[in-house]
């Protein structure tokens, strides 16, 4: 198709009729400002070649001017070798008119005109594409906004696919198949593969799971029911065994027999207890008889003993009384002797004291002389010592002071020697006749005199002059100062000791030492003579003097002390013997008296006992007979005991002991328990049986076995269903996969010629570049050299230019297939720079050789270079 003229009225900005006449059908260019209405013209063409006049779509309604009206569009176009005029009016004035311009005849009207027109511009069918366009800026916008309505770009892509599908056949059907298959699949599973909720597959899966769970539960219940059946069987067997009358009777008889045994045992044990009590009673009576007999015999023996003892006691008392009197006499004699000896001893002791006094006085006198001599010597030594101490106290020279003075004197000597060594020595010698002519400080210096000046000294030589000697006074002055200080100390020390010189001081020290030695000697003598001290020595002398002064008795005729002491010793010994004898006699007397008293008391006690026994005992004449009676009773009791023991022995043989009794009791209890347990167990079994039978009844009511079968069958059935859906899914997936493969092959088939048509344009505008076109016919990447970039990463200008050349390729493809469609570029090259746009112009010119290219642009000056046929919007003549 090639468009030759475009006319419109009441459309967008064109309220008045306008026309573009004289289109070449090759490269036609409409240049003008933005408000010229270029986009309105494009919209008009799109509506004319795609929308039926009956359309009420929003993009049709939007064609109406603000002032209102019925959009009218008309175009003259070449198709199938003839010139046609298609005229459509929308909304209130709906009409379509197709006219054969050559003949001037109306070819069709209304829907038929629309359909015929579409066939002319394409190759027939409602979805064919007769027009390609690229709107201003659409290359940079999201695909959905490119067309005159949303999705137009996709529609374009689909339209192109349909073209290719039509060429290979079945493309549309394949899309429909794929959509339906996907729809079927989506009825089963979601896009993420899990079964679609509430879908048949999900329902089958859920039902199968539920059935499996129910089956499992039913099987468990069936198992439990089977267990219960076995349990009932067991319980019934047990009940039969427990309820068996012979078994019950045997248990009962056994218990009864054990009960009777127990009663007999209890009776025997009771008899044994009685026998044991009888034995105890007999033994008690025997003990009593024994005791009575023995007591009577003992009393009788006791009475006889008392009577014999009383006879002996009386003889003893008489003998004791006589011995006591004898002892009294002997004791008196011994006491008199003892007193006599005591008096003799006292007299002797008085003589001994007198002897002592006389001997003491004599010794004191002898000692007084010695003490007095020592006292005198001590006194002399003390006096001398006091004197020496006095003299030493007055002496001011001490060894310390002298030593200090000697140290100072040594320092003086040292300093003097050093000063002398430092000072110059001037020895004066005169020539003969010149002696005395040398003077120092006016004094003539003697011949041979040696001067050691410590300060400048001028030697004046008469008639000649003066020689001044200046010693190195600095060090000498310091030494001299020290010398003076030491000398001063020496002088002070000597003055303190009150001596003229050091030698005197040394002499005085020597004298002091002699005094100190003498003092030591005096003190030694004093210590020797009066070691106890002067005061005590003096007191001793005074005491001895007092002792030596006594009475005039000198003790003549008085024996010496040893004799007296020997006598005292003898008398003392005799006295002690006398005292011991007296004491012994006294003790013997007391003892004899006590024995006599004891004998009397015993006699009284015996008498009392005999009296008491006589009261207890039968009269002496009956005592033997009574004792015989008691002996007879004792024998009788012994016989009774023997009989009781024999009886007890017999019962012990019969009655069981405690252990046997416990065993018997335990056996009886166990037997009774068995009987009781059997009854209880029977009751329990009956209860359990009733419970299990009720449960079995419930099992039957539930029809558990049938339920298991039913669920097994249902599970199998649902399993079949699930497998059916799985097979369905496998088939659908395979179908989708194969459809996808074929679609891909178709696309590859399609894209190959597209890319082939793209190459010449690409070489012109982007030499060396390669485009990768995707499933939706979008350019996805652009490769230049080694670099591959996505389209969106490229500059706006580059994106725009690629969009143009891709459309050129599509248009060329269609043209090569004999279905040339005009390509309308509505300000589609806005960003292209001058260099690039020249190559684009070349591409457009090349394209125009194959199909019509209509360029709408606001860049009039730039596009002057493009060439082509210049168009102008003019009033629609005849309207």
């Amino acid at each position: 198709m090639r468009i030759r003229a475009i006319r419109m009225r009441e459309l967008g900005c064109f309220s008045a009729p306008v026309a573009l006449e004289g289109l070449s059908g090759e490269l036609d260019v409409l240049a003008g400002p933005n408000e010229l209405g270029k986009s309105t013209i494009l919209k008009g063409l799109q509506a004319l070649f795609t929308a039926p006049h009956t359309s009420q779509a929003s993009d049709i309604r939007e064609l109406r001017p603000y002032a209102g009206g019925a959009p009218l569009i008309e175009a003259d176009f070449e198709a199938e070798g003839r010139l046609w005029r298609l005229r459509k009016q929308y909304l209130s004035e709906k009409q379509t008119l197709l006219t054969d311009v050559g003949s001037g005849k109306v070819a069709a009207r209304g829907e038929e005109a629309h359909r015929r027109a579409l066939e002319l511009i394409g190759s027939g069918g409602a979805h064919r594409l007769g027009l390609l366009w690229l709107k201003q800026g659409s290359a940079l916008s999201p695909a959905a906004k490119e067309g005159i309505r949303e999705g137009a770009r996709e529609e374009l892509s689909r339209a192109i696919e349909r073209e290719i599908a039509a060429a290979s056949g079945g493309g549309h059907d394949l899309r429909v198949v794929r959509a339906k298959v996907i729809e079927q699949r989506r009825a089963l599973v979601t896009g993420h593969e899990p079964p679609r909720p509430a879908g048949a597959y999900a329902v089958a899966l859920a039902s199968r799971s539920e059935a499996e769970r129910s089956l499992e539960a039913a099987r468990t219940s069936a198992g439990a029911a089977a267990d219960r059946l076995r349990q009932v069987q067991t319980l019934r067997q047990r009940r039969a065994m427990l309820a068996d009358p012979s078994a019950l009777a045997a248990i009962r008889q056994h218990a009864q027999k054990l009960g009777a045994d127990r009663e007999a045992a209890l009776a025997a044990r009771q008899q044994l207890k009685i026998a044991e009590a009888n034995v105890q009673a007999c033994e008690s009576r025997l003990a009593e008889a024994q005791q009575a007999f023995e007591m009577l015999a003992r009393r009788l023996e006791e009475a006889r003993g008392l009577e014999a003892a009383a006879s002996v006691g009386e003889a003893e008392e008489l003998k004791l009384t006589e011995a006591l009197a004898e002892l009294g006499r002997s004791m008196d004699e011994a006491c008199a002797r003892r007193e006599e000896l005591r008096r003799a001893l006292d007299a002797e002791r008085a003589r001994l004291r007198t002897r002592h006094e006389l001997d003491g006085r004599r010794e004191a006198a002898a000692r007084l002389a010695e003490v007095s001599a020592r006292l005198n010597e001590a006194r002399e030594a003390a006096a001398r010592a006091d004197e020496i101490r006095a003299r030493l106290g007055e002496e001011r020279v001490t060894e310390d002071k002298v030593a200090a003075a000697e140290r100072e004197a040594a320092a003086v000597a040292t300093l003097e020697a050093r000063i002398a060594a430092q000072l110059p020595k001037v020895r004066v010698a005169y020539l003969p006749g010149a002696s005395g002519k040398i003077r120092v400080e006016g004094r003539p210096v003697g011949a041979g005199e040696v001067l050691t000046p410590s300060r400048p000294v001028s030697f004046e030589i008469e008639g000649i002059g003066a020689i001044t000697i200046e010693p190195a006074v600095h060090d000498v002055e310091e030494d001299e100062a020290d010398l003076a200080a030491h000398r001063s100390v020496v002088a002070d020390l000597l003055a303190g000791m009150d001596v003229p010189d050091l030698e005197s001081a040394r002499g005085r020290v020597e004298q002091r030492r002699r005094l100190e030695r003498e003092l030591a000697r005096a003190e030694d003598r004093l210590a020797t003579r009066a070691p106890e001290g002067m005061a005590l020595l003096t007191q001793e002398a005074q005491r001895l003097a007092a002792l030596s002064q006594g009475s005039g008795d000198d003790g003549a005729g008085l024996p010496e002390r040893p004799e007296i002491e020997a006598e005292i010793e003898r008398l003392g010994r005799t006295l002690r013997e006398a005292e011991q004898a007296a004491d012994r006699l006294a003790r013997d007397h007391v003892e004899a008296r006590e024995r006599l008293a004891g004998n009397s008391a015993a006699a009284r006690a015996r008498k009392a006992q005999l009296t008491a026994l006589a009261a207890e005992l039968p009269p002496p004449g009956e005592r033997a007979e009574r004792l015989a009676e008691f002996e007879t009773g004792l024998q009788t009791a012994r016989l009774a005991v023997n009989e009781a023991i024999r009886e007890r022995g017999a019962w012990r043989e019969t009655a069981p002991d405690d252990a046997a009794m416990r065993a018997l009791e335990a056996g009886l209890a166990a037997s009774q328990q068995r009987e009781r347990s059997a009854r209880e167990e029977l009751a329990a079994v009956e209860r359990d049986l009733a419970v299990v039978e009720r449960e079995l009844e419930r099992d039957r009511h539930d029809g558990i076995t049938a339920k298991v079968k039913e669920l097994e069958q249902r599970t199998r059935s649902l399993d079949d269903q699930v497998r059916h859906f799985e097979r369905e899914l496998s088939a659908l997936d395979l179908l989708i996969e194969i459809v996808g493969q074929v679609e891909q092959q178709s696309r590859d088939l399609y894209l190959s010629p597209v890319l082939q048509r793209l190459d010449p344009y690409l070489s012109l505008v982007f030499p060396g570049a390669r485009l990768d076109i995707g499933r939706s016919l979008d350019v996805e990447t652009v490769a230049r050299g080694e670099a591959t970039e996505s389209l969106s990463a490229l500059s706006d200008g580059t994106q725009e230019q690629i969009a143009v050349i891709v459309r050129l390729a599509f248009a060329r493809l269609l043209a090569d297939h004999g279905r040339a469609a005009p390509l309308i570029l509505d300000d589609a090259l806005v960003y292209a720079d001058d260099t690039r746009i020249e190559s684009l112009f070349d591409a457009l010119r090349m394209a125009a050789g194959a199909h019509q290219v209509i360029v709408f642009t606001c860049r009039a000056r730039t596009f002057e270079q493009l060439g082509g046929t210049r168009l102008a919007v003019a009033p629609w003549a005849g309207q």
Partner: protein, 378 residues
């Protein structure tokens, strides 16, 4: 003197027929109960006054009381027949089981329960040796005791048992209850009436499975009969005659589709063989290889067949559907054709695990194409 009796078994009353549509189950259950009447009619017509039922009278030990009571009523109603009922592996003698409940409900006078393995004189000189089962399975042969069982008053000994005869190339029967194949000889039986195998089957002259009188599954054997057994002189073989009793027919058939005529021929054979298709339950396993058009036609025929039968189950998983080359033309010359070709290639590849899916996908593609065409034409 000839002793004539009916040998039957495996009534399995109370069966639930899970897996069948709910509306069909009561009819099948009722048919099993009705079998009692039909058996009695056969017996009556053949002069048999005794019917030996060799186990599995009831489908399970917990069959509903209603089923028990109904069965008792049906048995009681056939008063001229004495029914000898033997517990089988489905209804073993167990505490709280069906037999206890039957006893509690009250067994009619013409019904004798054989719950103990002891000889019973059922006629003047006829001893019945029953081998009731007490569990679903048995480790030992329940008929073993018959060898030593004395029946001094009997001229004929008839065994009644339920289990699997051993040594017939696989266990004959479903119960795990072994029965020695030579039992009739070792026990001196004139006849051993067996139950468990649902098809009427002769084991030996004296040993038979009667099968179930009313089929209850798609069988591999011949159900739907009772046996009329006649015993004459001592030592002479029993005369056994099969009599049909089935109300419903259960068929399991496999059909290899070889062409468009396959199903038509099958339909014709069906019409010829089945007098009452409305009482036929058919499980049809389709196999072979069909073209798309054949398969499509088969689908239509099966849909029609389903309407005429009591129940139809079709398993076409083994059916391979492959288009003929000419059928591929129906997909046009474009991409759709290409899809069909690729699927056909896969479906024809027997080694490909995707072959079944490809075959099914082809059917779907074909239907979609047909649907699309129908839409276009309308």
């Amino acid at each position: 003197m000839t002793f004539t009796f009916i040998h039957t078994a495996d009534w399995q009353l109370g069966k639930t027929f899970a897996g069948l549509p709910a509306e069909k189950v009561p009819l099948l259950r009722e048919a099993r109960l009705d079998a009692i009447g039909r058996i009695a009619a056969v017996g009556r017509s053949q002069g048999a006054r005794h019917a030996l039922v060799a186990g599995d009278i009831y489908d399970s030990r917990d069959v509903a009381d209603r089923d028990l009571l109904q069965s008792l009523e049906r048995l009681r109603r056939e008063q001229d027949v004495t029914w000898h009922l033997l517990p089988g592996n489905h209804d073993p003698v167990q505490a709280g089981g069906v037999w206890e409940r039957l006893t509690r409900f009250g067994v009619p006078a013409n019904v004798r329960l054989h719950l103990e393995p002891h000889p019973q004189m059922i006629a003047a000189d006829i001893a019945l040796l029953p081998a009731p089962l007490t569990a679903r399975t048995a480790a030992g042969d329940p008929t073993a005791w018959m060898d030593a069982a004395a029946t001094p008053l009997a001229r004929h000994r008839i065994g009644l048992a339920h289990g699997s005869i051993q040594g017939f190339g696989g266990e004959m029967g479903e119960a795990a209850v072994p029965i020695a194949p030579g039992r009739a000889e070792t026990a001196g039986l004139d006849y051993l009436a067996l139950g468990d195998w649902h098809g009427a089957t002769r084991i030996s002259d004296r040993v038979w499975y009667s099968g179930t009188p009313e089929p209850d599954r798609f069988p591999d054997n011949e159900p739907g009969f009772v046996l009329v057994v006649r015993i004459e002189g001592q030592g002479s073989p029993a005369m056994v005659e099969r009599r049909p009793t089935a109300q419903y027919t259960w068929w399991k058939r496999a059909l290899a589709i070889t062409g468009p005529e396959s199903l038509a021929i099958f339909g014709q054979s069906l019409e010829a063989a089945v007098a009452q298709p409305e009482r036929l339950l058919l499980r049809l396993a389709l196999g072979g290889t069909a073209t798309l058009s054949t398969w499509s036609e088969a689908e239509s025929r099966l849909a029609a067949l389903e309407q005429s039968l009591f129940h139809l189950v079709v398993d076409s998983t083994a059916l391979q559907v492959l288009p003929e080359d000419i059928e591929l033309e129906e997909f046009g010359a474009g991409d759709l054709r290409r899809v069909a070709e690729l699927l056909t290639t896969t479906a024809r590849d027997a080694a490909s695990e995707k072959a079944p899916a490809a075959s099914l996908a082809l059917r779907k593609l074909y239907l979609l194409r047909q649907s699309s065409r129908a839409g276009e034409s309308s």
